[in-house]
Symmetry: D2
Subunit: 358 residues, 4 copies
């Protein structure tokens, strides 16, 4: 169903062309300071204006909290936050039930629901649903901050443009929020923007990779056996539309490493137990090691492209040419950055609550 | 906790040096034909004898079913299956609570449980716990088979040895089960075996990649939003000890593809709606498209290596040299093949039951 | 947490003096016809105007659906419905954190949350939260109706006034909805109204019993072992504020019956297997038998009474006299009737979905 | 499904004529001292020898722990305990699929599963399944004892024989465990035994009421809204075969009380906030008040009686006379006492773990 989590649970609702999208959040500790401005700021990072090829007009998603926060603090009851949808023309979407767009959920959803679901704007399969993840995650990050747990997602690849530059956490945070692709490396960010503009001109789209780092986690967060940090985090990440891969630490690179190189050997630094390498990505046996949590999320290129594509009429079973109209982000990655970061916060808070860490 | 699934739930129990390891399975439809021999056969694929460098002696895990199957059929009640552990010397493990093995769960588990957990043999963090996954999955695959849904996991990389050969499903199935690395490409299998033997001689270990293919799934399996095939499958896969990455279809490669190349365009073949490419890996919007489900799972090299490694005494906070004794698989990938395949079956059956497909 | 159900899940939110109260409903089948007018009608039965001693002004709870229904049909996504709260004076409630009202949640809630929860108007412990149950249940009853499953709750006792009259289902339904105490027996209803008016004059309050009947359920609804109709239904009923007891069929009377009298013996009537007696209340082994489901729910007298009561200052640990001001229902039972009926519908729909009955 | 609980979860398995019955328990804190002898003692209270009309032979249910306890302490992993079934003749049960026993699950189970379930001995609907509840509860009570939370169930009614005598907790505990009906009032116990013997002679059976008291609970245990003590406890109680009613504190009696009499007014005694009356049964707003938790559970008379009864052949739809052979308890209440007590312990531990009380 549309709910995620055990002790800290996010239930998303709404649809892209219905009245609103939002989230109901269970498990926020009573009394926790929750700033609506912080949630709004995270939502703003996700809005279309973020994209380098968007129109300058900033279309805001205005947050409304209708339950669970009173006087700037969590009441202990469910928090419900939502953003209203603007009036939009849904007429085009009816056709996609019969002639599905390549790369979209149209075809399997049409078969699954027999056309009975709310298909307008992609309905529940729309990327717009991630606004609910951002709301739930932006609440969580504020609780985590009181425990000095901080998160940073950043774009490390768009199309063929890759950065491997390691920018210190606080600097990276500023740069990521300042440029329109969410990349901590200013120079590469410019090249990523150019690549997106070019793809847009070519009526094409680009994918990319978002890396997420979590600092400050105590040792031992995570639950056996199916509640490992990797299991829960990957389940959340693969819920984000367009994600094709998730890897922790050395990730797929581990396949060609030897154990003697991969094992992160322990040492003591300033009385703290640390490892010099972090191939584990901060997780062993599903539990946090005290080293930074590191994972990477691969996004496919946007499915909606302005070129003509081949599809089929699923009733007639005949081939059809399809042209998807409207303005679409030629690369979803920049807007995915705050989604990865905030939804990761929800996962970590849930595991910390489960483990009795707060 | 140690349970996975919604309508088809596997709860694993036991520990590597306790009396047994096993699984309790909920949700197997009453009346389903379940052969214990099939479960035993899958368990046999996971035993140490599988490894190219194992001793010739086949140490069998003998299945005992103590609930839920009567007269060769599921009763509708919980199925409980277990394999007893052999008597083993657990004395070495006490030390790892204080001087943790690099790459193992020792350190975070020791902090989390304060030494109160069953640490012997890795306890609940041991790879031996996956026997429960195999039991639960081998029940599921028999139910799936009645719906013509079949699964095949195969080793496609060990260390630097990679195969890209596409072997037809049924041939692949035979070859995978016949060689000791679970690779469908006979020639590459030999090279993988050599690589493992060499790593063993060098007191080192290797990682690798397992690919899993699922055929016969109807269109529309998977649940929105957090119940996408990718979310649930990745959560299961990352529960398997040693997994560092999971990707579907084009996976991380999608990041550098263009939308025009990535979109799988629809066509009609023999009245069936198909796509020529399968970058989606058989999943769009979290739902099955009717094309084969394809995903890849990256495993790190075995953490237990015979070389001396640096660790620390976590009480004294002093550096210590550590030598991990005993016989260990220099590559876990071959034994992981049936774990991936069977646990994937459990995921798919759960989603089919949730979706009302059986 | 604030969620109930497995396949049909109601999550209630809001608080009595916050912006709204409402419910998020998961699992309503896509395409089901859902009339907002029906939901509104059930909400109207719960409003204060229902009480015989209420002011004539009908304070309506105006339903807003913000997710999950489009064009009069369920979209398959979460349904979110809410009713806004009117502006109310919450100032009195602060004091109850320190000097708790007898019979209310004030004292244990104050200790549990350390005063950090939203205590205004009883917050999440308020009877007003049951509006969410009515919303979720009024959706469910519409789905059940398509399967010819119908429900009727009726008041059978208020204070010492008891009715044992058996009124045929459809007549009872009309009468229950027509009088202000929800009693199917017109004559007794009048006496109940008098008793409530008298209790009100005496600055006192009354309890009572609501009986609920469910017709049309197929045989075999209910899940083993903890998913019995009685288990799930009682869990729902005991969530309604003020409930002290739940019994099925013969209920507590069964304790003094003999087996030969209690066993409902089978016979055949018009080709249908029936029992003449229904001591089972329509449930055996947790499963529906095809006979009417019958259960009774006991409510305590309203805790808020206008008399002076003894309490304590929980900080000073000194005795204090307390007078609870404001207008309160001297008997909650009439307004509880639609809550019992609709929340029961949610339970039954959930079990039918779990059992694959629709 | 066959699982109960959130943080402390019991999953029962097996069937009465299969290899065993047992329970898998999740959530027992690592390091908790768990005596197998205590579990065995609780199981012994449930065995047939308990009944006043049983044969003197004590048929023991011998506990086997196969997971989760090592060296007398919980490992933190799942605890699995079971008792093997003795060889029994299951041949009689086949007939009940076609000619159901009145008062048993035969008829609805036969329809639900189409005869595909394990019907022998009542299968999963058998009272024998409660051995699993006792195992799970007997673990929980040991954890609770370390927090000074203690429980006592006692028989207060069998047939028409009722006791209202209040026996101090510790005395009651001894007497309850010493006599064969589990009644704390020695004199009434004798009359209850006589009544059972007489019912047995008359080939009939008796019902009764079990009262349960829980002392030592801190204030604030219980979760809003659906996690109230009453909701969770009643759900557990109604899972026990034969239960027809559950009431807390004043229970059904509350229906005819006035608020001024029902409200438990607060006072201070030795610095502790208490109430003189306990109509609340120790629960307000679903949360513990610090007063004793009090609830009562009504059991129907045993369905299996030696008299001829009317049934039907469900295939032919013809009336049939049925005689249920074999030895059956003429009153299940005495053996239900330890089931109520131990399963209540599991509920309380779960809520305490959820609330962070340990």
């Amino acid at each position: 169903m549309n709910e995620f989590g055990v002790k800290y649970r996010i239930g998303i609702f709404g649809s892209s062309h219905g009245p609103c999208v939002g989230a109901k959040v269970e498990g926020c500790p009573a009394g926790a300071k929750i700033s609506e401005a912080v949630i709004q700021a995270e939502l703003d990072r996700r809005t279309p204006g973020r994209s380098p090829v968007s129109t300058p007009r900033k279309e805001s998603d205005k947050l409304e909290i209708i339950s669970g926060i009173h006087g700037g603090r969590a009441t202990g009851g469910p928090i419900v936050g939502l953003v209203k949808n603007r009036d939009v023309d849904s007429s085009a979407y009816e056709a996609f039930l019969r002639v599905p767009r390549p790369g979209h959920a149209d075809y399997p959803a049409s078969v699954k629901y027999g056309g009975k679901h709310d298909h307008r704007g992609g309905g529940q399969f729309s990327g717009r649903m991630t606004a609910g993840l951002v709301i739930g995650g932006a609440v969580a990050r504020q609780v985590l901050a009181t425990k000095h747990v901080v998160l940073l997602a950043q774009t490390v690849q768009i199309g063929n443009i890759v950065t491997t530059k390691e920018v210190p956490f606080q600097d990276a945070e500023k740069v990521v929020r300042a440029n329109s692709v969410g990349c901590a490396d200013r120079v590469t960010a410019e090249r990523m923007i150019e690549a997106i503009v070019k793809a847009h001109e070519e009526k094409d789209s680009l994918g990319g990779i978002v890396r997420c780092t979590i600092l400050g986690l105590p040792v031992g967060v995570g639950e056996p056996f199916f509640g490992s940090i990797e299991s829960v985090m990957s389940a959340m990440m693969f819920s984000i539309p367009g994600v094709k891969g998730v890897e922790f630490g050395s990730g797929f690179g581990a396949a060609s490493m030897k154990g003697s190189a991969h094992n992160d050997q322990y040492s003591v630094s300033k009385g703290k137990i640390v490892t010099k390498t972090n191939n584990a990505g901060g997780v062993l046996g599903g539990l946090s090691t005290g080293m930074p949590i590191e994972f990477r999320v691969a996004f496919k290129p946007t499915s909606s492209i302005a070129r003509k594509q081949r599809s089929v009429d699923i009733v007639d079973r005949k081939p059809v040419e399809l042209e998807v109209k409207g303005r679409h982000d030629p690369c979803i990655v920049p807007r995915a950055v705050p989604v990865v970061e905030n939804s990761a916060a929800a996962v970590i808070l849930d595991l910390m609550l489960q483990g009795g860490f707060l």
